[in-house]
């Protein structure tokens, strides 16, 4: 018994599709006879056999794609008699594939660079990654007091950020003294970031009153059918509206670093969350524009809970591409935000409240829910004109909540 395998019909062929058999079980074949037609994706090729024999069993159905080297048929050599029991019939090319698969190539671990560096580090000097050192400087932290978790005990960026995220409510509850220290640390961090913002970023501010009658009605309709645990807050709707609108205004979404603007590919909205003991964190909700409202609401609720419980992830701390704040929750009319560097914009919402609004079509005065949205943006990156277009687009979008 011998096997007929799919041969390589060209250097760049790694699989083929059986189009047709020219033989059937029991047929005698001669060396050089065409037994099958195979499509190589370049052409239909007549495939010859290179040994005399009698076809015993065809293992592949026409129409099947199979890799080069797959067993397509078994044949009996001249003079050989058929075995009493037929071999198990195979479908497609599985058997051939299994046979052909070589063991995966051994991976030579190329760890030399890192390991050698570890051994050569002079004693006494802590090993700190450049990014971790820079971040610690920005935050005013003493790098020597941060334990390293990287290869060979290197202090990494995540180690520095972990050391900073600690000052939140739950973690601070341990002792009043520790809580006071944490409070002071958080205050210092906020002070550093906000001072830098006001020192370096030429802010401009714009305001727009956005009618929310349609959005409120639409949301009420959506929530009417949902149990209380699955209701969606206006805050989530506003967040999503900002994210969708931002896709058309890349100059408001990203980072200003090293004297230039780096637009962000995704919208990760930093949500300003105040902590009960005082202080503020603005961790990121990722890819806000592409998430559905229920998902977004769930994540927002989870983020608020985790922020207050002090269990944020480092990515959430480090990668918001814009900040959104909802100070109106506390009752104010409008917000003039301070941009969180290196971000380049902050969108603020005041209180959602009923206001007298002149209907632009009919000229009538009506009382409708509305909110004042504000934009604080970095004048090095964008101009007031773009900012105004952004707020206008946001206003328009919020008139069609059913669209998102």
């Amino acid at each position: 018994m011998f096997e007929f395998k799919l041969p390589s019909l060209g250097a760049d062929m790694d699989e083929g599709k059986l189009l047709e058999w020219h033989v059937k079980p029991g047929d005698k074949v001669k060396k050089g006879q065409v037994v099958a037609v195979v499509d190589t994706s370049k052409a239909a090729v007549d495939v010859e056999i290179w040994q005399d024999g009698t076809v015993f069993e065809l293992l592949v159905e026409p129409g099947t794609r199979l890799p080069v080297g797959s067993v397509m048929a078994t044949l009996l050599e001249d003079g050989e008699s058929a075995p009493a029991r037929k071999p198990v019939t195979l479908q497609g090319a599985r058997k051939g594939e299994a046979r052909r698969k070589a063991p995966p190539p051994e991976v030579a671990a190329e760890a030399v660079g890192v390991r050698q560096a570890a051994e050569l580090a002079p004693p006494g000097r802590p090993r700190v990654s450049p990014a971790a050192r820079k971040r610690a400087d920005e935050l005013g932290r003493d790098i020597a007091r941060i334990a390293g978790s990287g290869p060979g005990g290197v202090v990494t960026l995540a180690d520095v950020e972990r050391a900073v995220v600690v000052p939140t409510a739950a973690a601070a509850a341990a002792t009043p003294a520790a809580a006071a220290t944490r409070q002071a640390e958080m205050r210092r961090t906020i002070a550093a970031a906000m001072s830098r913002s006001k020192r370096e970023i030429p802010h401009y501010y714009l305001f727009e009153t956005i009618p929310l009658a349609r959005a409120s009605e639409w949301l009420a309709g959506v929530n009417a059918d949902r149990p209380i645990t699955e209701r969606i807050l206006m805050a989530a709707l506003l967040l999503k509206a900002v994210a969708i609108t931002l896709k058309g205004f890349p100059a408001l979404n990203g980072f200003y670093r090293n004297e230039r603007f780096e637009p962000a590919d995704a919208v990760h909205a930093g949500v300003a969350i105040s902590l009960r003991g005082g202080g503020l964190v603005a961790p990121a909700l990722h890819d806000v524009d592409s998430k559905t409202l229920p998902v977004l609401m769930h994540e927002l609720s989870d983020l608020v809970r985790r922020t207050r419980a002090g269990s944020l992830r480092s990515s959430e701390m480090s990668d918001p591409t814009i900040t959104v704040t909802n100070l109106g929750e506390q009752g104010v009319e409008a917000v003039m935000g301070v941009i969180y560097p290196p971000q380049v914009a902050l969108v603020g919402f005041g209180r959602v409240a009923s206001r007298p609004v002149v209907d632009e079509v009919s000229g009538e005065l009506r009382v409708l829910p509305a909110v004042t949205a504000s934009l604080a943006a970095d004048h090095r990156v964008s101009d007031g004109h773009r900012g105004a277009l952004f707020l206008g687009a946001l206003r328009e979008l919020l008139q069609h909540p059913e669209d998102f």
Binding site: A224, A235, S274, R276, S301, E329
Partner: protein
């Protein structure tokens, strides 16, 4: 459940969200959100907590009636008996 017991449940639920709250310092006839720092997420969580503890449903359309602690007590008594 009488009004005093219900009020105690309200305060407990509130404290699970805003631990700094002292029940004795709250005025029952003043808007609650003027006395306690609650954002819309806190408020939602407060209502979720109440609906779970008291096994009542609170339709969103009723939110506007729930301003003071007294409103809440009266409203929830009505929901629990019906």
């Amino acid at each position: 459940m009488n009004d005093t017991e219900l009020l105690a449940v309200l305060i407990e639920t509130l404290q699970s969200i805003a631990p700094e709250v002292e029940g004795s310092e709250l005025r029952q006839d003043r808007p609650l959100r003027q006395q306690v720092d609650l954002d819309s997420m806190d408020w939602l969580n407060f209502l979720i907590g109440l609906s779970e503890r008291l096994k009542v449903s609170i339709p969103e359309a009723d939110y506007r009636r729930l301003v003071t602690l007294a409103d809440l007590v009266a409203y929830l008594q009505g929901r629990m008996t019906c």
